[in-house]
Assembly symmetry: C2
């Protein structure tokens, strides 16, 4: 008899029928009530066993974490907390779980402890909920773009070019590291003999390749892993993370902001609809967490209120120049409470400034645009003022920067001049420059760090808790 | 005025209205008919310009590959080949394309030439079609799993473990390669000082990690990049490719075969429905290709017939032992036409044998199962006969192996014994073994090389032509 998923059992359509369920024991209360979970939902199905009907040594094996199969009748539950339960006629222990050794007990474990058991933490309510929400959010991303005429592009992971002009990349090689790799006459490594015939790294962004596709298919997006070899051990950074990068021909920066805002709202809306139980659990989890905080540090809104707030309000669009004026005149700047004081136009904004703007001043998601050219990447379109570029960052409460995007410099001459000034090799990016040589057009795009979105939607605070197996400095376990 | 996508213009809903279109010129015939494409569809919109209305030096810039914007009235076309066209009132050249230099001319280019211009090849009809089909197939994959209660899991790309026990991996490091990397006293590399504190590689499979998630969420799948550092320059291998790996708790091998067959049929069906124009083009392309072949080498079926054939017929399920008997008795074996003759049970099947079974003997997709344990991976479940494992491979005509899967060995003791025999470190895979220690259960899964599926659906023959920027030995351009 095929088993029925807990999620389907709980909707009651098999009421009074003989059913089979399989899953893992969350708890076994009074030698009578088994809370069975199979991952299809955060909710357990209660399986009621009659103590006298089963041998004691079988029941002894029904411990937290064990895998079991039960057969029985689905009935309406008399107890509180569940509508339906299974009156068990048949019980089989598929895989035992020694309670002395099983790390995940029915009690509160610290997030740190669970990170060390990343292969088991998804068996807890919180991580089951987080990972289901993550999955639904992923699908929402694909659904949004596919239904709006975008094509998914798999840009390369191993790359010979360095999109951002930044140096923080992991090297990929088939060479040994002990010094025996082939060398040129001048003593440098002879990469011609390495697997790809050149030095290669893990990608930091698929944007440049995506641009070449946007200039043919019109609207494209990437959704894949990207990498940073930055030695930053913070709650907001991962060495390996998933990024979403749409790129649209003929979109200017305004259209780009419209797209980003509509996209974020759509995927949150879809997830709110699809993950009600999981989000209610995470909402309550956050409320419980907050109880331990001093009143002043508690959020004004619950998790679900915060998500609805984002849906219902326009993101505030503010130019960099306006933002600098606000920051200059702000209390923490005047009282020297900022670590980095803002005294002039051109300063790079730090996390403390972004948080002030979003959490104290505007109290809503903020889109900053038209940044100084000097603090932004070479491919961003220069404004007529000659000193700002058509860049935008979206800042979220509690998260900081969640999106970074721009209108791209479509003018060949301006782009080449910029690359020269920054010492970026034209020879290496010949193919990127081709897009400006042949049928160039206005186009725009952005990058959204997927884990930051999952952080926001789940209300978690450490990015290591929203990706199954986090990669960070000194950690590549599992 | 916002521009309308070509795909939407061609459905005629804006008939007799003033419209704006933007895109790239495919051809400009008789100084009068511009074929404009914007990537939203393989079809062009014809834009009719009145020679006398526009300055000659403007029209001169309307060349293949240039980006233009046109305004005009959408009318029914008098000419053959299209239902609607734009009578152009306003023409703007957004980005020129020097016809002397633009590599993609309106003529047939070789696939080799186009590979060298992978940043521009998607501007051709064939590659536009392939990449749109690839995108729709990707979405079909997500849609199938999400609608069937699977959760998407992002397993790590950078890994400290070696899932298959195979050695062909790319190393990932922050160390220099010139011999100056920190060393231990015994002269070996001191990986403790490398970024992750251990030696790390690019993943060859997310299966083992996915198994840990299946044992909590029940039904999961991965869809991400995987890597092989194999120096094989063939039309079927890539160093970087995308793999789909579902993993299902409580599924045995039969259920696994059912899932694989249903999955493949579903995604092909969805793509046939969504990509009619692109697949018709690719169908015709293949017919044209075949005309150059001798009669005997031509396919019996067209591309679309082949896709429908897969939908309408059951995959033939054949045990390895039966397959060996068929091969032993086959003509090419008796006539010594096989390069590797089959003389006894236990032989590993080569591509020539798989092709014989699929293309000559059964003439349909074939699922081979119950392979000798010796030629399969350590994690596959041992049958009661003690010599075969619950493995399955799905073989497709023209493609060969498209799926490899198995029921996993769920018995802790048997698994440990197998690992010992193969010298696979228990210490390294402690977390994998935990799934057999705590709540173990029957479970199964498979891996499907996404590019091989795209090959099959598009009718292309070289795997480098179905991924945007292929990575192969000596090639990581773009």
């Amino acid at each position: 008899m095929k088993h029925i998923k807990v999620n389907d059992l709980l909707n009651g359509s098999n009421l009074l029928q003989e059913v089979t369920a399989k899953g893992w024991v969350r708890s076994f209360r009074n030698n009578q009530f088994i809370a069975l979970n199979d991952g299809s939902t955060i909710n357990n199905i209660q399986c009621v066993v009659d103590l006298d009907k089963f041998p004691a040594d079988l029941l002894k094996k029904v411990t937290t974490g064990s895998a079991i199969a039960v057969k029985g009748t689905l009935v309406e539950s008399q107890g509180a907390g569940q509508k339906f339960e299974i009156q068990v006629n048949n019980l089989e222990v598929l895989g035992e779980s020694d309670p002395e050794k099983y790390p995940i007990q029915p009690k509160k474990h610290s997030l740190e402890f669970l990170r060390e058991n990343a292969h088991l933490r998804v068996r807890t309510n919180a991580f089951g909920a987080i990972m289901r929400v993550r999955s639904v959010l992923s699908f929402a991303v694909h659904k949004y773009f596919q239904e709006n005429g975008f094509y998914y592009v798999n840009t390369p992971i191993i790359t010979g070019s360095d999109a951002e002009g930044a140096g923080e990349m992991f090297q990929v090689t088939s060479f040994p590291l002990d010094g025996s790799a082939p060398k040129n006459e001048d003593g440098t490594i002879n990469y011609k003999e390495d697997f790809f015939g050149k030095q290669t790294n893990l990608t930091v962004s698929g944007q440049l390749e995506a641009e070449t596709y946007a200039m043919a298919l019109g609207q494209v997006y990437t959704f894949g892993p990207t990498f940073r070899a930055e030695n930053s051990n913070t709650s907001r950074h991962l060495a390996e993370f998933w990024m979403i990068e749409p790129e649209v021909a003929f979109n200017d920066l305004d259209a780009n902001m419209d797209l980003a805002e509509d996209f974020i709202k759509s995927v949150i809306k879809y997830t709110l609809e699809k993950c009600e139980d999981d989000l209610n659990f995470l909402d309550q989890r956050l409320k419980d967490e907050e109880k331990n905080k001093p009143q002043a540090e508690r959020s004004e809104m619950s998790l679900i209120e915060k998500l609805n707030f984002v849906l219902e309000n326009n993101f505030k669009r503010v130019s960099y120049t306006e933002a600098i004026d606000i920051l200059k005149a702000s209390k923490p700047n005047k009282n020297k409470k900022f670590q980095y004081l803002i005294d002039e136009w051109g300063a790079d904004l730090q996390s403390e400034h972004e948080r002030f703007l979003v959490e104290k001043h505007f109290k809503c998601p903020v889109i900053l645009f038209d940044y100084p050219a000097k603090i932004k990447a070479f491919y961003m379109r220069l404004n007529e003022d000659g000193k700002t570029v058509r860049a935008m960052d979206i800042l979220f409460p509690g998260i900081g920067e969640i999106v970074g995007g721009s209108q791209r410099e479509e003018r060949y001459d301006v782009l080449v001049e910029k690359m020269k000034a920054l010492d970026i090799s034209e020879e290496e990016l010949w193919w990127y420059l081709d897009t400006r040589k042949f049928g160039s057009a206005v186009h725009s795009g952005f990058g959204l760090g997927f884990e930051r979105l999952v952080l926001f939607v789940t209300g978690m605070t450490n990015i290591r808790d929203v990706i199954p197996f986090p990669r960070t400095p000194q950690n590549a376990e599992f």
